[in-house]
Amino acid sequence: MEANDKTVLICRGTGCESAKSPAIQTELMSGLQGSDVEVKFTGCHGMCQQGPIVIVEPQGTFYANVKLKDVEPIVGSLKNGGGPVEKLFYKDPATKEGLSTYHDIPFYSRQKRLVLQNCGRIDPEDIDDYLAEGGYEGLKKAIFDMTPDAVVQAVLDSGLRGRGGGGFPTGRKWKFTQDAPSDTKYVLCNADEGDPGAFMDRSVLEGDPHAVLEGMAIAGFAIGAQKGYIYCRAEYPLAIKRLQIAIEQARERGYLGKGIMDGDFDFDIDIFHGAGAFVCGEETALITSIEGNRGMPRSRPPYPAVKGLYDKPTLLNNVKTYANVRLIINNGADWFASIGTEKSKGTAVFALTGKIANSGLVEVPMGITLREIIFDIGGGMLDPNKNFKAVQTGGPSGGCLPESFLDTPVDYDSLIEAGSMMGSGGMVVMDEDTCMVDVARYFLDFTEKESCGKCVPCRLGTKQMLDILEDIVEGRGKPGDIELLEDLAVGIKAGSLCGLGQTAPNPVLTTLRYFRDEYEAHINHHACPAKQCKELITYHILDTCVGCGLCRRNCSTNAIIGEQKELHYIDQSLCHKCGVCFEVCPPKVFSVEIRTGEVKLVES
């Protein structure tokens, strides 16, 4: 690319596609026809909330929230060589200042993008773009300059740990599978991504599918497999389409199939469409599902490394685990091991969601603190007037950490010690308006429904826990409920057959550990400190009411009574607690109050 050759990159990840980015691309292309500006589309940039995103390289000019009508000024500035379109700059949430390039945006400048390095920079449907960034060099080096043992050793030395949640050392898993004697072995990629709200793996598959294919092929060479499957949930049509295109292009160019790069290593990959059950992310359930049966886990050992798909030795890794492999082979194990902490190497990818200013996909070096991720990269709370309350990592298997843990380094072991876990990358930020008992109820509701129903502790135990949590949030909590929850949690964790049940009580245990007072308030005082649990709150109009009538007109149950310009009041027997009065009461008046606890239900 020459210095003054400009390229316009338009994001077409799932988020931006649904915000009409394909139409914007078409407009840009027709607008720039005949000029020497190239228009390309890419995978996700991570800042999905600001999408559709358009970037002009080589300067890195960053346009956020681009609409169809904005195409004209962008085209104008590119064609006439004028300055960039300032009104489309991303505005710093703190200073409200427009930032012209993504190098200036803290969201990007604090990140370390290794796995995501190509996401948002290359066209994922064009193998030449991937090759131009050094694609398939790792595979070439592995096959022609290394032995399978040397590849396994490099992965071992790099310290890479599984990115699917458990954090098992990847090199050791490769070694077990390599050592298992068999002519037929399989390489599986876990792209089930079942955690609610997670989209890390999807973004990698959509933005840089070849990196995953290359990692799998290197794994196949190392362990002696000829066949790989990607288990991808069918809810990810765009990821599946891009994978399919990538597989076909790789076969055409000889990076997959018989005699890869004219050597004597054969390896091919197919996609398996999963039906999207959370439990199918568990390794033995995933294998059972590929074999055509109902996805239910089975007892381990034997581990898949010894007896996996069709009873053959099988290697299963997460999407991001494979995406790291080529970097290790290309740059060396020492380089990889130099990033991160002593026991957690490399980077972590998180899908930041919840009450945070910049939600999106971020990649950070292991060891960074939660505070840096949430406040520096994430820009702090979505509503700056609200206080941070907790951050949830590890999805339904993880836990919620309070403010006092914000300086915890993000690595596998520190998070486990704090009572949460790394998980595969979901990070949900909660503010003071979140009821922690309700959060626990939400996750138990998820695991109870997703339990495969095979083993007793998980099938019946999660239901018992959910029933108790529902009682508590609905005001029927009894003394002894907390102890019963703790007792059940111990039994379910110790006795369940697979990881789903073994970790399902974690959201309850961590909220009990750090927010026990909220449980006690619900049970003993019928109070929801966050004022969220409907059964435990009442709405009241204060005597500062000016009688504007807004709330009365908006109330769907006619529970609000009062003459125009006079004090209004709420008939509690009619109130459904939808909260619309609280929402519509003009900020200057601010006369609606939510009360909780043993409040008098009679209006003063």
Partner: protein
Amino acid sequence: MSEKYIQLTIDGTPISVPAGTTILDAAKEADVEIPVLCYFAHTTANGLCRLCVVEVEGARMLQAACVVAAQDGAVVHTRSPKVERARRTLLEMLASTVDISESPELQALVAEYECFPERFEGGKKRQPVVIDDNPVYLRDYSQCVMCWRCVQVCADDAQFTYALNFSGRGFDTQIATFFDKPLTETTCVFCGNCIGVCPTGALKAKREYLIEQGVAPEQVLELTRLKGRKNRT
């Protein structure tokens, strides 16, 4: 045949068994009794009721004795406080959600482990209606503990008819026919194996049931005659 033997200790008793022996079988050798529910000597063990869990020193989780092979040098505790607590909770959960009135073995265990199923009184019970869709047997899934034995004998363990499978997820998981069709419209050949292996009163031979109800014998015969399969094409 030269078999490799391994040594382990179960509740303090040293024992030597062939490699590959499950902890459950090894315990039998050592005269230690481990309670089982889903395990049945003639069907594939799936390790799913978790009643047979034991503590193996060094293992993070409790291990299901019926499926896990004993390891050389292992130290196994079948009655540690952790094990007893887990078993008690399991039995309580079963007793509070499933109707165990016709399962004497389960009742005995509930008594032995001093369970208080009343702890979970508030919880929902599984109360699906009794399915009476064929002349041979009744299916009362409110008594089902989901041991899978019927599914196994119907499939690869004996009959290879695959009439029974699962439906639902989580708490609502249940043994069912394909699309919940009546048994007469499935591949079922009414071999009766499933009734034989059911450890609770969930599967009941219809003749026995009718006689228990005081129906006259000649009427019983009439009610339980297997008619030609009309629905088959």
